[in-house]
C-alpha cells in the first residue's frame, strides 16, 4: 500500500463520514419581493412544509434537507439567483417558481449545469416541451385549465341546467398576455373537439378600465356562457359591469387568477359572485376522501404560519414537492442522473395526493396526471363541484 493510496483512502473515509452527517441543500427559487411576492411567498410555503415533513421523517437518505432561498424578483434576477444557488450554495436541485417567465429563464441555467429543476406552480405551456432533460413540472398547465373549463361546462353545468351543450352560445374573453391568450386558445380548440358553439372570442389588455362595450357585445350576441381568463382587476371589473348592465348569462366560468381570491368576492359582493364558476388549482373546500393528506397539510400550515392558506398555491407546491422528494428518497442518491431516474420512475395514482391528482411524468417531463378542479361560489365560499369524485357540493343553478 503506497502513501498515496492511504491518503486517498483517508480522504474517501472522511468525505463519507462527513457526508453521513451533512445537510443536503435544495434551492427554493420564488419571487419573494416585488409585485409577485404575495403568491410567490404563498407558493414557497408549500415547499417549506413538504421539506419539514420529510425532515421530520428522517430526511433523504439520512441527510437533513436545507432549503436555500433565491429571490426571483424578475427574469434577470431569476437567472442570477439560479447561478448563485448552483455554484455558490451547491444545491442538488432547484424547486420553484410560481411565475412562468421566471422558470423559463432560470431553467436555462440549471439545464446547462445539469442540475434538476422541479417546477411546482407555473402554468404556461412553454415551460415543458422545450426538450429539457433536467426540467420537470408537477402542476397542471394552461392546457389543463382550458380542458377542465370546457369539460365542466359540457359534462356538469349544461346537464344540470337541462340544456344540450351544443345549443349554448359561448363567449370567450381573456386578458391578452400569454397567460390569457394560451388558456383561451385551448378553450376554443377543446370546445371545437366537443362540438360546442363559440360565438365570440375577444381579448383585452389586462389594465383595461372599462369593459362596458364588451359586456354590451356579449349581451347583444345572446351569449349564454361567458368564459373569462383574467387577473384580479379585470375580474372585478367584468363581474361588476355585467351586473350593472343587467347582463345575467346562464353561467360565468372564470379561469384562475382573480376568480379564486376572497378579495375578489369582497370587492364585487357575495350576491354578485354567487353562482359564478371557477377553474383553478385544487382549493381547500374539497372532498377529503379524494385528497388524502390535505388535513395534515392544513394542520401543519396553521401550526407554522398561524393563519389559513391564502390560496391554493401552497397546496399545489406542497403536493409536487412532497412527491418529488419522496421519490428522490427512494432513489439511488443525489447525483443529477440518479434524481432524474428516480422521478421518472414515479407512478402515483389519482386520488392519493392532497391535491387529488396523481404524478407520472410524460415524455416532455410534464405530469400527465395533473389537472385543474372546478369550483363554484356559493354563499361567499368557493366550493369544489367538479370533477364529481372531488366535489363537496352540488352545482347550484342561478335564476
Amino acid at each position: 500500500m503506497t502513501t498515496r493510496s492511504i491518503l486517498l483512502g483517508t480522504a474517501l473515509g472522511l468525505s463519507l463520514a462527513s457526508g453521513a452527517f451533512a445537510d443536503v441543500k435544495i434551492g427554493s427559487l420564488y419571487p419573494f419581493s416585488g409585485p409577485l411576492a404575495l403568491l410567490g411567498e404563498e407558493s414557497a410555503r408549500g415547499l417549506d412544509l413538504a421539506v419539514d415533513q420529510i425532515n421530520a421523517a428522517g430526511g433523504l437518505h439520512g441527510d437533513r434537507i436545507v432549503l436555500e432561498r433565491g429571490d426571483a424578483v424578475d427574469n434577470n434576477q431569476a437567472i442570477g439567483e439560479a447561478r448563485r444557488l448552483i455554484s455558490l450554495e451547491g444545491v442538488k436541485a432547484v424547486f420553484g417558481t410560481y411565475s412562468s417567465s421566471r422558470v423559463i429563464a432560470a431553467s436555462q441555467v440549471t439545464e446547462l449545469a445539469g442540475i434538476p429543476y422541479f417546477e411546482l406552480g407555473a402554468v404556461a405551456d412553454e415551460v415543458t416541451g422545450r426538450g429539457m432533460t433536467y426540467l420537470f413540472r408537477t402542476n397542471p398547465t394552461a392546457e389543463n385549465m382550458g380542458i377542465a373549463v370546457i369539460d365542466m361546462l359540457a359534462d356538469q353545468i349544461a346537464p344540470a341546467a337541462g340544456k344540450a351543450p351544443e345549443d349554448l352560445k359561448i363567449g370567450i374573453i381573456y386578458e391578452d398576455s400569454s397567460y390569457g391568450t394560451s388558456v383561451a386558445g385551448h378553450e376554443v380548440a377543446h370546445a371545437k373537439e366537443r362540438g360546442l358553439n363559440v360565438v365570440l372570442k375577444s381579448g383585452y389588455p389586462a389594465n383595461i378600465v372599462d369593459m362596458s362595450s364588451l359586456v354590451l357585445d356579449l349581451k347583444g350576441k345572446g351569449v349564454d356562457v361567458v368564459l373569462q381568463t383574467s387577473y384580479q382587476n379585470d375580474t372585478v371589473l367584468f363581474l361588476q359591469q355585467a351586473n350593472e348592465a343587467g347582463y345575467k348569462p346562464m353561467a360565468i366560468i372564470g379561469g384562475g387568477g382573480g376568480y379564486s381570491m376572497q378579495p375578489t368576492a369582497d370587492a364585487v359582493g357575495t350576491d354578485v359572485i354567487d353562482g359564478v364558476y371557477d377553474v383553478d388549482f385544487t382549493q381547500y373546500a374539497i372532498n377529503p376522501d379524494f385528497t388524502p393528506g390535505i388535513e395534515t397539510f392544513l394542520d401543519a400550515y396553521r401550526a407554522k404560519y398561524g393563519e389559513e392558506p391564502r390560496s391554493g398555491h401552497s397546496l399545489t407546491n406542497y403536493v409536487g414537492a412532497l412527491a418529488v422528494l419522496q421519490a428522490i428518497g427512494e432513489g439511488e442518491g443525489f447525483e443529477p442522473d440518479q434524481i432524474v431516474a428516480s422521478v421518472k420512475a414515479m407512478d402515483i395514482p389519482d386520488g392519493s395526493t392532497a391535491a387529488g391528482y396523481g404524478v407520472k411524468f410524460d415524455d416532455t417531463n410534464q405530469n400527465e396526471r395533473a389537472r385543474m378542479m372546478g369550483m363554484q361560489w356559493q354563499d361567499g365560499k368557493l366550493l369544489t363541484v367538479y370533477p364529481p369524485d372531488a366535489a363537496v357540493a352540488e352545482i347550484r343553478q342561478s335564476e
Partner: protein
C-alpha cells in the same frame, strides 16, 4: 338604437373619468413643462388614503376629500421643491423625466410594502347604484365624476384668468424669464402649481376609489391614457384636455363594441397619431414655446 345610445353614454362617462385624471397632469405639464411620470402614483396614493379613511372611520368615501386633497397638495409641492427644483438647473431637462420615473417606481414599491399586492376595496356607499333612464343605465358615481370634471375645468379656468396668482401662473408659463423680471417668484409659482396639479388628482382619487379596486399599480392603468389626453388637448390647455378626454372615451367605447376589445387600443392610439400628424400642437394648443427661458 338603445345599444348605440348606451355606448355613447358609456363613452361620455369614460371620457369624464379620463378628464378628471388628466386635468392635474396638464396643469403641471403646461406650466412647469415637466412630464410627471409619477402622476398615476399620486392617484394611487390618493385612492389608498380614501380607502383607509372610508374603511377605518366608516365615512362616506367623498368625505375623504377633506384629507386627500390637502395631503396630495403637500405631496406635489414637496415633489417640486425637493426633487424637480434642484434639477431645474441641470444641463439637460430630460433629467427631470428620469427623476419622476424613479419617483413612480419608488411609490409603487412603497405601496407594495405597506399595503401588499392584494386589492383594496373602498365601500361604494351607493355610488355603484345604477341610475336608469328608460333602458339606459349609468352609475351614480360615474355621473358625479363627470360633473366634478366640468366644475373643476371651469373653476381652474376662472382661477387662472381672474386671480392675481392665476395670472402669475400664466405669466410664468408664457415666459419664465420675463415673469421673473416682473418680480414674480418663479420657484414659488412652480411649487404652488405642482401642488395644485397633485391636488386635482387627489380629487380624482376620491371620486374613482369607490368605483375601482385600489392596488399598487392602479396608476399605471390610467397614466398612459392621461398622457394621450394631455397631448391631444394641446399640452397645458385645460379645456383642451377635457375635450381630448371625451374624444378618447367615445373612441374607446365605440371601437370596443364595433371593432373589438382587443383592437380598441390600436384604434385609440392610431387616431392619436393621426391627430398629431394633422395638428401637431394638439386640438387646443397654440404654437407654444416650450423653452424655459426665452
Amino acid at each position: 338604437m338603445t345599444t348605440f345610445l348606451q355606448i355613447l353614454l358609456n363613452g361620455l362617462m369614460l371620457g369624464g373619468l379620463f378628464a378628471i385624471v388628466s386635468i392635474g397632469l396638464t396643469l403641471i405639464f403646461g406650466i412647469i413643462k415637466v412630464v410627471n411620470f409619477a402622476h398615476g402614483e399620486f392617484l394611487m396614493g390618493g385612492m389608498f388614503i380614501t380607502w383607509l379613511i372610508t374603511t377605518q372611520m366608516g365615512l362616506h368615501p367623498y368625505a375623504a376629500v377633506i384629507v386627500v386633497v390637502p395631503v396630495l397638495f403637500v405631496m406635489g409641492a414637496l415633489t417640486q421643491r425637493l426633487l424637480i427644483q434642484p434639477l431645474m438647473s441641470a444641463r439637460d431637462d430630460h433629467i427631470q423625466i428620469f427623476a419622476t420615473v424613479g419617483l413612480s417606481t419608488a411609490l409603487i414599491n412603497l405601496a407594495l410594502l405597506i399595503f401588499g399586492a392584494d386589492i383594496a376595496n373602498t365601500p361604494p356607499h351607493g355610488l355603484r347604484a345604477p341610475l336608469e333612464f328608460g333602458e339606459l343605465r349609468l352609475l351614480t358615481g360615474q355621473v358625479m365624476i363627470f360633473g366634478a370634471a366640468i366644475v373643476l375645468v371651469i373653476g381652474l379656468e376662472l382661477f387662472l384668468k381672474y386671480t392675481q396668482t392665476g395670472r402669475a401662473i400664466r405669466a410664468v408659463a408664457q415666459n419664465r424669464g420675463a415673469a421673473e423680471l416682473m418680480g414674480i417668484n418663479v420657484n414659488h409659482i412652480y411649487v404652488l402649481t405642482f401642488g395644485l396639479g397633485a391636488a386635482c388628482v387627489g380629487l380624482a382619487a376620491v371620486l374613482i376609489a369607490p368605483l375601482y379596486p385600489t392596488s399598487s399599480n392602479i396608476g399605471t392603468y390610467f397614466v398612459l391614457t392621461a398622457f394621450v389626453v394631455v397631448v391631444l388637448g394641446g399640452l397645458g390647455s385645460i379645456p383642451g384636455a377635457f375635450l381630448g378626454a371625451l374624444i378618447i372615451g367615445e373612441v374607446d367605447a365605440l371601437s370596443g363594441y364595433y371593432i373589438g376589445s382587443d383592437l380598441r387600443e390600436a384604434v385609440v392610439f392610431g387616431l392619436f397619431l393621426l391627430i398629431l400628424i394633422l395638428r401637431p400642437s394638439g386640438l387646443f394648443g397654440a404654437r407654444q414655446n416650450l423653452s424655459h427661458l426665452s
